[in-house]
Amino acid sequence: MIQAPSVDWFAIAPEVALIVGAFTLLIVAAFAKGHERGLSIVLGGATLLVSGAFAVAAWGDAPVLTMADAFRVDDLTELVRITVALLAALVILLSVGWPRFREHGSEFTALLLLVCAGMGIVAGSTSFVTLFVGLELFSLSLYVLCAFDGKSRASLEAGFKYLVLGTIGSIVLVYGAAFLYGATGSFMYDDIATSLAKSGSGDSIVVLGTALVLVGLLFKVGAMPFHMWVPDVYQGAPTQVTGFMAGATKLVAFVALARILLDALPSQEHLWSPVLIIAAIVTIIGGNIAALIQTNVKRMIAWSSVGAAGYALIGIIVNGEQGLRGLVFYLGAYAFTAMGAFAVIALFERDQARENGHATLDGMRAWGFSRPFAGMAMVVFLLAFAGFPPTAGFIGKFIVSGTAVTNGYAYLAIIGAIGSVIGLGYYLRIILSLYDRSRKTDVGLPAAPGLGAISLVILLCLAVVLFGGILPGVLLDWSGQASAFLAISR
């Protein structure tokens, strides 16, 4: 008789809800033709609400290990689940006026729900097997979402590029996990850490495994020099998907990276710390410089999000309570900033639907006068990217840089500041283009499809970014509570 492992259903309820919701939506939509859009919004929103509510209900509970210890539910997992569910809800809102959503809304929403489920699994994974399976669930769904705009060649190209390059990243990660398994005899982070602590870290197989795992995860994070997929994918993907990827994927990938490095490979810090330092420096400088020469705003923000990955890396390098809190706060704030910025770009694309619809610097000239709210919101989001007060981006960069200085990594803080200054160069270019007086017209724009929903998304993101910048206490407490589970296990 096989003894099945005990399953704590409450602990995995958010993922179960998401998967059940995705299945239900697809089945119901098959019998309710013509109501695709309404059904997707209602069922998708309800599923995300239920999933998020389960995560909120378990917030603050003691950590739970379930499913044969392969899945860990602590406040960090919950924080990721809640953030991802919120971002996914914003994606659904942004899709309301999208023609593709009317035809294929149920599939789009179902895939989005599966992405959220996969991200929850990754955030709580305690073994390489769980990590890989969760990673594949959300990555594969994201590849499809990137290519969802079937009429656009750029979208298909983005999906295909992401598929090929993302798969290479996954393969390298699995290759590394296999070497670590060979060296320690386990896929579980805890067992790997104990085995390495016992045997010492001189084994060359451990070194190779660590290196390959690092490469695979830096790939997912989009840090240099493994960033080459980011600009093309972010530019070609449907804009709301880009907004989701910039925030949610980064957050989840960094949580996975932090859990592996701090739970499984703390004994290898002398190996991975220098690698991360170099990656962070190259990423911050390279990402921001490359963004300077872009003319497409979507691509520009994609490059700037490469740079943002560099700041988050500093949080892991510093690796104390403060650094990890800064990491979580910075990425959470970044997620909503990016979502807001891409929501504004989505609105611009809707306005330009009859023309080519590309958000180039030239095309956006004086658009801020026609859409005053979206234009001003974009200014706030760009200042948040650059790290200006009173935005959440300022607090995030401030904490990360501050902890870097107090922990003897002052040069990283200086590099970060240089990156921010370079960043200001292209953020200002966007702002100047939005408010170019020479092209100012007094003609108001007609209502774009889904204008109300997009405006709501922009408003919500704006609220989070400003709240996090003016009264950061609450959000900082949450980040601290969540990241404590990384620091404790050291």
């Binding site: 492992p5 499913m67 392969a70 895939l111 399976v133 669930l137 594969l140 079937g150 060296a183 070194v207």
Partner: protein, 204 residues
């Protein structure tokens, strides 16, 4: 003996893997992939993983490869994209990087000390043992994989329905069929006329 089989299978695996990438004809690539899968199955057999080896042959070399060949036959052996704007230095850089990784892996594995040898119990690699670990240690991963497969089916539906007009109503379908039937009739009658003209030896 084991060593001989290992090196034969390993060489075959590498050679076929190179052939998959290097061949221009997708049919040959697919067949090379088939050879690669078989070679890997032999390697798995050497590692006492009988079940995985057999599953690999049946599922991949059997079902999946047949599907591959169907798709290639359906799409036709075209669709080979030229090298595009690839620059020669990129190719050399790629080869250099790949060679460095290969050297690193070989050096590391060659220099490693394998001290903790694990004993393999009698039913290691048997279907029963694998089935057991799927529903015990790897229950979560096992369940999630089923969702991943489902997701793949959804993706197939999305891309498969891309080209055609979506969700025609019954009336539209009937109208379309009537139109195509009409056109076929016209073409038929034109063919009959042409044949009649040919048989009468009329000049063209």
């Amino acid at each position: 003996m084991d060593l001989v089989v290992f090196f034969l299978a390993a060489l075959a695996a590498i050679a076929t893997a190179v052939a998959v990438v290097a061949q221009k004809n997708p049919f040959v690539s697919a067949l090379a992939l088939l050879g690669n899968l078989v070679a890997l199955a032999v390697l798995m057999l050497l590692l006492e993983a009988q079940f995985v080896a057999v599953a690999q042959i049946i599922v991949y070399a059997g079902a999946v490869m047949v599907m591959f060949l169907f798709v290639i036959a359906y799409v036709g052996p075209r669709g080979e994209v030229g090298p595009g704007e690839r620059k020669p230095w990129q190719i050399w850089l790629a080869i250099l990087a790949a060679a460095l990784i290969a050297i690193e892996v070989v050096a590391v594995v060659y220099g490693a000390t394998f001290s903790d040898w694990a004993e393999i119990s009698g039913d290691y690699g048997s279907p029963a043992a694998i089935g057991k670990s799927l529903v015990t240690n790897y229950l979560l991963a096992f369940e999630i994989v089923s969702v991943v497969l489902f997701m793949g089916a959804v993706a197939g539906v999305i891309f498969g329905s891309g080209g055609r007009p979506l969700r025609l109503s019954n009336d539209e379908v009937l109208a379309k069929e009537a139109a195509s039937a009409e056109q076929r009739r016209r073409e038929d009658s034109r063919a009959v006329l042409d044949a009649a003209r040919d048989s009468m030896g009329g000049d063209r």
